[in-house]
């Protein structure tokens, strides 16, 4: 553990003090082990889909519709086929032959792989050109002549539900409008009663705008059918390779054992790589038909315009409360845009995901929520972008509404939270919409954040700036969020019918090191380190002696994949349980080696060794036990030292935290600058604090993008006008402030190692803190809400509305030494 000891050595020299964890120096739980995978990423030896090269490999380019809504009259392939190097041009007609013209979405809708009849969103896949190289494929795609009969598009969910809206889904029998689904939760009548009698009610309308998860690596696949073995291998950018294999088998009719999905290094997923996209199917089908490998890799704009978007919930929030700020009930009504197909990626029994967690961290007895989803002529989506299935939208709703209520009552937003928090002794806590929170100590996290943020000082400074009519207003925003992550349990959560368990398999080798295979897949989360640390902790091994493998359905145990912060809560639990199974067998071997009775053998977590009870000197390490398992097995025992566990979690886990954001708002330009950004997270027991901190930093950056910059927009003709990185703005290091992170530890009582999952907390928790801060800066001007993204023009409009915008006349007057009269300036 040289890397770790170096860090500690630094600390002794007066550098930043790492926290002391329960680590035993072997790289187990709580130790800041450097990420094992970074060696290859940093030295350019990662292996992504586009790095894969196969002998005889062909390239696929998709022809996409320039129109958002159009009937295809004719597709003429002839000019494309004349291009030297073009091998084939595929259309829906060709795929129909193999029954592959359509595919099911994760919500059991039917999406065209290549459009058969009618284009339903701009950039939808119309044809595929297969050629000897990528550029020839692109040249060929330009020469596929498609005759479109252009129809009126509708790109806004509210417009889509108007009576005179064009019907998008005429392919669904009996579908007469653009209505997709209705959903409700909670008790309508009881909630209405509370609202009728409540002394105080507040309401606010807020759009959680359409976002693109924007993984740096776009989606891609290499289909590689081997006619000799009659086996189809698909290398693809997949967050969930096993369930994708099952779906491929179901759609193609190829037996599942004849399909291998490999998800190699993946450059970010964020929910975008959970759905199956037409490109994957086309690459696989083309390889099957042509009996040659076929690569398809999307361009950036294709990724933004055609793959799963996130959010797009237009929410009305209402709170009922007492005069002194006790929240009595919450009510919400949502209009959701699902795009052209119902392809949201969430457990099938949860059409609105886990949105009904919208009572948040608060002990609210009464709640009711409704949701209507509409089809529009936009790409399908509603994926869980770095969050657990609509938890982001729910947290935004409740954390914004608490601030709206605090302002209405003139209460401090920290105080009103404190007053309504679920208390530590109330756990396990059952929410009015049916969630069973495992553990929490919300006030502790808030108190820590308030202290780190120097809250009282900034409140005084805020007041001072108001009184002195300062050029820059100060705003302080709080978000005390609770997540629900780690789906299953299998009885309530499934993807396409497969229960949401996960798995880990441990093989300890004769020379004392181990290979761990997990059913989840990493897209940069650091699984190869985190899972190794869990096993190191539970088996007393050194983390460097453990290799973690994942992403290959031929070798890894079945699992549901990585999204919704489920890797640590589910597969992490499986790794711990499998380790303990290995430990049980190890005990028998230890007894044999130490010539003692098995019941006298105990395992010491500190030393990581097995010893005879009462005689610590008579001990044996896992390395020696491994040798014994293969070379000197006890009579009656099977040889080997392996275990596998398929873990069905009894409940989800509920990570939480408090974020405090201090912003300066420029009254002249509407620009927002971050003065302070404090994030206190509680993800239960912490496996690798350094990885956690990295996760928090990345997620906060994405939260800033959400709040300040990002929005997928459309014009009236259905054109995506935010469809590239020139128009869809992502934050860069220039926009990211210094983050101050802290933590509390409230273990999950039902998780084998008390961990909860953390990667998504910052994306979920930070946007409302940021919006609350900017609103807070102008609350004294009567502003109760600002829509995201809060670009300077949006903020300036609000400043102007509140009468807080710096009068340009003042600025001009100053510049011209007061010579301009007010009247002239007004002109």
């Amino acid at each position: 553990m040289s890397s770790d000891s170096e860090r500690f050595a630094e600390a002794e020299d007066g550098g930043p003090q790492p926290e002391k964890h329960c680590g035993h120096g072997r790289g187990g739980m709580g130790e800041e082990v450097k990420r094992k995978e970074d060696q290859r990423f940093i030295t350019g030896r990662g292996n992504y889909v586009d790095d894969i090269k196969k002998s005889g490999m062909l390239h696929c380019e998709l022809v996409r519709s320039p129109h958002a809504h159009a009937r295809i009259e004719d597709i003429d392939k002839s000019r494309a086929l004349e291009v030297d190097g073009v091998v084939a041009v595929l259309t829906a007609d060709d795929l129909l032959e193999y029954d592959l013209a359509t595919m099911p979405t994760l919500m059991d809708d039917t999406q065209d792989v290549l459009v058969n009849d009618k284009v339903k969103f701009q950039s939808q896949e119309v044809a595929a050109v297969i050629a000897t190289d990528r550029y020839t494929a692109k040249d060929g795609a330009q020469k596929v002549d498609v005759d479109y009969d252009v129809l009126d598009p509708v790109v806004d969910a509210a417009d889509a539900l108007e009576d005179d809206a064009p019907l998008i889904r005429d392919d669904i029998e009996g579908q007469e409008d653009n209505h997709c689904l209705d959903w409700e939760t909670g008790d309508e009548e009881a909630t209405a009663e509370v609202f009728d009698e409540a002394p105080v009610t507040v309401t606010e309308q807020m759009l959680y705008q359409r976002l693109h998860p924007a993984p740096i690596e776009t989606c891609g696949a290499v289909g590689d059918y081997d006619p000799g073995k009659d086996k189809l291998t698909v290398h693809m950018t997949s967050q969930a390779p096993h369930i994708h294999r099952t779906l491929f088998a179901q759609v193609s009719g190829i037996p599942e054992h004849k399909i291998r999905i490999v998800s190699p290094d993946v450059g970010g997923g964020f929910g975008n790589k959970v759905p199956i996209y037409p490109g994957y199917v086309v690459a696989a089908a083309a390889s099957y038909v042509l009996e040659q490998p076929v690569k398809w890799v999307e361009e950036r704009s294709e990724n933004i315009q055609s793959t799963g978007f996130a959010r797009d919930y237009d929410m009305q929030g209402e709170l009922a409360a007492t005069e002194d700020g006790e929240i009595l009930a919450v009510r919400t009504d949502v209009l959701a845009d699902h795009g052209a197909y119902n392809a949201v990626a969430q457990p099938s029994k949860f059409p609105a995901g886990f949105f009904n967690i919208f009572t948040g961290s608060y002990d609210i007895d009464t709640a009711y929520g409704t949701l209507t989803a509409a089809y529009t002529n936009t790409a399908p989506g509603g994926v869980a972008y770095r969050c657990s299935f609509r938890v982001t939208e729910a947290v935004y709703l409740i954390e914004r509404m608490v601030k709206v209520l605090a302002d209405e009552l003139g209460m401090d937003p920290a105080e009103i939270r404190r007053k309504n928090f679920i208390q530590p002794e109330q756990f396990p806590y059952e929410s009015p919409t049916g969630w069973n929170y495992d553990s929490g100590d919300y006030e502790k996290a808030l108190d820590k954040a308030l202290e780190m943020a120097d809250y009282d000082h900034y409140r005084e400074e805020q007041q001072r700036r108001i009184e002195t009519d300062a050029d820059k207003l100060l705003g302080i925003g709080i978000s005390s969020f609770t997540e629900v992550v780690g789906a299953g349990p299998g009885k309530s959560c499934d993807i396409a019918g497969v229960e949401m368990f996960d798995s880990a398999e441990i093989r300890v080798h004769p020379t004392g090191n181990a290979t761990v295979r997990v059913g989840v897949q990493t897209q940069g989360q650091g699984h190869e380190t985190t899972f190794a640390q869990i096993v190191a902790e539970e088996l007393g091994m050194d983390v460097d002696d453990i290799t973690v493998e994942h992403g290959d359905t031929d070798t890894d145990p079945y699992g549901l994949g990585t999204y919704g912060s489920r890797s640590t809560p589910v597969a992490g639990a499986a790794a711990a349980v499998a380790s303990r199974k290995v430990r049980e067998k190890a005990k028998a071997i230890a007894a044999n080696e130490l010539e003692a009775a098995e019941e006298d053998i105990t395992w010491d977590r500190e030393s990581g060794e097995f010893h005879v009870a009462g005689a610590p000197d008579r001990s044996i390490s896992i390395t020696e036990i491994a040798a014994g398992a293969y070379m000197n097995k006890p009579a009656g025992e099977d040889p080997g030292l392996e275990a596998v566990n398929y873990y069905d979690p009894p409940e989800m886990t509920y990570p939480f935290g408090s974020y405090i954001v201090v912003v300066e708002v420029d009254r002249e330009t509407g620009e927002v600058e971050f003065e302070k950004f404090v994030a206190v997270d509680d993800c239960g027991n912490r496996i690798n604090p350094m990885i956690i901190e990295g996760q928090i930093h990345g997620g906060l950056a994405q939260g800033i993008g959400t709040a300040m910059m990002e929005h997928v927009t459309f014009d009236d003709n259905g054109n995506v006008t935010g469809g590239d990185f020139m128009n869809y703005l992502l934050p860069t290091s220039m926009e990211i402030p210094n983050f101050e992170t802290g933590h509390t530890v409230t273990p999950s009582p039902h998780h084998p190692i008390g961990a909860k999952g953390v990667g998504e907390s910052p994306t979920v928790g930070s946007p409302p803190a940021i919006v609350n801060a900017v609103v807070d800066a102008m609350a004294h001007g009567g502003i109760s809400h600002i829509e995201m993204p809060m670009t300077p023009d949006v903020v300036w409009e609000k400043l102007d509305e509140a009468g807080l915008a710096a009068d340009p006349a003042d600025a001009i007057a100053l510049e011209f030494d007061g010579q301009w009269s007010d009247e002239a300036a007004d002109d």
């Binding site: 320039p66 129109h67 252009v150 003709n717 995506v720 020139m726 128009n727």
Partner: protein, 197 residues
């Protein structure tokens, strides 16, 4: 997307402006990126058509030829336009139909649509030439409503509008020069063409 505007030509009378704006060749010459504007029938092929590059315009052109080729109501024209917007430079195969030509009020309207790889548009355009108050000149009012789809549209109005404005201002700058050239010649020519139209 809607664009409109007007411009004034102090020394060019409406009759003369009308003749220049009625000449497909003069319009082609003023429209940056336009290779040709030519009457089309059902068999027209953009791939095969080779325009005559050396057509003269007034004042050099033969008045009879100018009158002969002038825009006709109800006629369909093929135009090939290449427009560079940001990083994309699509070549639009465009069909334009002259919907209305009012020789008295000097009103001309047209509809059209064009396709290029990855982009397409449809538009309705019109113009009217008014006498310029207090002078012999003209005031030309124009408008166009365009629906744009695909790559070009995705670049957003922030990118498209400056390009459109540049094309339009170049067009009118250049057409104004052509009109002034005509004016310097024997005014009898314009009268003759008017008679032929």
């Amino acid at each position: 997307m809607e664009f409109d505007g007007e411009f004034e030509l102090e020394d060019v009378p409406p009759e003369q402006a009308w003749i220049v704006l009625s000449d497909p060749v003069a319009v082609r010459n003023s429209l940056k990126g336009c290779r040709y504007i030519t009457p089309m029938d059902d068999d027209f092929s953009y791939d095969e058509y080779e325009p005559d590059e050396n057509l003269e315009t007034l004042p050099e052109a033969d008045p009879e030829a100018v009158a002969e080729r002038a825009f006709k109501e109800g006629q369909q024209y093929a135009a090939l336009m290449q427009v560079g917007v940001g990083s994309v430079k699509p070549r639009f195969e465009t069909t334009v139909t002259i919907e209305e030509r009012d020789e008295e009020q000097f009103i001309m309207t047209a509809t059209g649509s064009g396709t290029a790889s990855g982009s397409s548009f449809s538009m309705e355009s019109g113009m009217q030439i008014h006498p310029l108050e207090g002078s012999e000149g003209s005031r030309i009012e124009w408008w166009t409503e365009a629906d744009i789809s695909g790559r070009i549209a995705q670049l957003g109005s922030r990118v498209i509008e400056p390009v459109a404005n540049k094309i339009v201002s170049n067009f009118f700058g250049d057409i104004e020069r052509q009109m002034s050239d005509v004016e310097e010649t024997d005014s009898g020519i314009t009268d003759r063409i008017r008679g032929m139209l």
